[in-house]
């Protein structure tokens, strides 16, 4: 989703060559860039966009999984899912805070999400249709997220890198939880196996799309790599994910929905079939099955919560005024 965050980024900047060179030297020396450090505008903008879209994805990602909280099949699963979805909200919160260090407010980012200007990961535009989808999301979506985020723990921007360390720990717990759901289903009744296979069929390709367009189509990848905002290319990460996931699917006894998937002795990796990039771009541009509903749900929550937020501000102002009045009276 983070690589998707770079789509359409304008990373050009107008600083002097000396300034850019000095900045690049710091990056090359693996120094962390901190909020008050001088940085090229393109670097700042790229990060704002990437962190913002990552945050939005966490927030919107609460919806497809939240869809199964009330229907989770056991109390243990219900508690775990509730905790997981709550973690995602927490990730959103750290990420908005990390983005705030770059001079953009949470309010501003929220408005961009709600208006549809800012994007969220394409994966959350797919519906969750069965309990097995919750397993598949944990296993594949959180698995893909980890693949993307582990390198981000070494991202050149300090606050983002540090936020990622905590996020990764939680994501890896979620991934294991999802895989465990799939394990139980895969070893269960025929209906459960079918449910697990169906979820895998529907989420496999969308999970591969999470890594973003092919490197050849990813126009800003080089600059982000040079700035160490990204540490691996989209295709490298996608390949790592496939290589890690194929044996897990085999262990589960489930079939990945790709007839071209084959182990390549020479590369030591799995070759895989062609991704449907039309579907990818359609989804990224707002045409996913659930894109409108996700955005509508966020807007509804925001609009219906306005009176609550207004009341909290009004109450705080009243308290402050009363306190000041009491102080004046005492003086």
């Amino acid at each position: 989703m983070y690589s998707q965050g770079l789509i359409g980024t304008d990373s050009r900047s107008e600083e002097t060559p000396e300034f850019l060179e000095a900045f690049q030297k710091r990056i090359d020396a693996d120094e962390k860039i901190e909020p008050n450090d001088p940085m090229p505008e393109g670097y700042r903008k790229t990060l704002v966009r990437q962190i913002g879209q990552h945050a939005h994805s966490e927030i919107v990602g609460m919806l497809p999984e939240g869809n199964w909280i009330t229907r989770a099949p056991s109390l243990r699963r219900k508690a775990a899912l509730l905790a997981k979805v709550q973690d995602e909200g927490g990730h959103g919160l750290y990420l908005y805070s990390a983005a705030e260090t770059l001079g953009v407010s949470r309010k501003q980012m929220t408005e961009e999400l709600l208006s549809g200007k800012a994007k969220f990961s394409s994966i959350f535009s797919y519906p969750t249709l069965s309990w097995a989808d919750i397993g598949a999301i944990g296993w594949l979506v959180d698995g893909a997220a980890i693949m993307n985020q582990i390198p981000l723990c070494r991202c050149s921007y300090g606050p983002y890198a540090r936020a990622m360390i905590r996020v990764c720990k939680e994501e890896s717990f979620h991934q294991r939880q999802g895989f465990e759901i799939m394990t139980v289903l895969a070893q269960g009744s025929d209906e459960q196996k079918e449910m697990a296979q169906d979820a895998l069929n529907r989420f496999w390709w969308p999970a591969l799309m999470m890594f973003g367009p092919h490197d050849s189509e990813s126009s800003n990848g080089d600059q982000s790599m040079a700035w160490k905002i990204k540490r691996f290319t989209n295709d490298e990460l996608r390949q790592k994910f496939v290589d890690a996931t194929v044996p897990q699917a085999e262990y589960l006894g489930l079939t990945l929905p790709d007839p071209d998937l084959k182990y390549n002795e020479e590369t030591g990796s799995y070759d895989f079939g062609a991704i449907d990039w039309d579907e990818f771009w359609r989804t990224v541009k707002g045409g996913g099955v659930m894109t409108r509903e996700r955005l509508a749900a966020r807007n509804k929550a925001w609009d219906e919560g306005e009176w609550v937020r207004d009341a909290a501000l009004a109450h705080a102002a009243k308290r402050k005024a009363r306190k000041e009045a009491a102080q004046h009276a005492a003086e």
């Binding site: 909280i69 989770a72 919160l93 925001w302 219906e304 009341a311 009004a314 109450h315």
Partner: protein, 251 residues
Amino acid sequence: MDRSEALFETLIRLADDHLILGHRMSEWCGHAPMLEEDLAMPNIGLDLIGQSRPLYTYAGEVEGKGRDEDDFAYRRIERDYRNLLLVERPNGDFGHTMLRQLYYSAFMEPFWREAKNSTDETIAGIAAKAVKEVAYHVRHSGEWVIRLGDGTEESTRRMADAVEALAPYVDEVFADDEALDAAADLGIIPSPKNLRAEWDARIDAIFAEAQLERAQTVSISGGRQGRHGEQMGFLLADLQYVQRTYPGLTW
């Protein structure tokens, strides 16, 4: 009613209250008025569902028929649920949800505090953990009731509506109930009746700060006897969906 029967029925009542209220709270997940509440509300829901689990498990042990927590939570008919009508009330707006939470938590805080001294060791253990969680629930929901009551014109009106809407369900919290009364006589739990004065004082103090008035109304009850409101069936349809569609499987 003998000891184990009183204990079993008490456990089911408490567990059902916690499960159903936790379920209602979990319905907010991803739809809260602000991100902080998207964290706080599921957290409260999680505490409540977490508290229901040892209560159900212990009820199964006391009953001795091999039923586990999920048998109770998922595989009973509506009439067998013994929760208060208060906790099954639909969420309504954020103000309704917070007031409902405050009403229940302000009851359970002294309840768990007293139950730490239960003659039943398992209940005392559950109470010792729950009392810390419920203190946070009272604080969180109480602070919101104050903010919203003494906020804007709109929030004041909405909170007054919530007070009116939930008033009929308060008396049932403290009403006579054969099982709870028997358990209280045996020192297993405090008698709900005896917690009313403390509850009233707590709510009055919060309402005074919130500039809200208590509402007088006719009481409605029935939850403790398994006579629920119409919304309960839909809640259970949601809750039990997977277990009912695929009976007898492990998840």
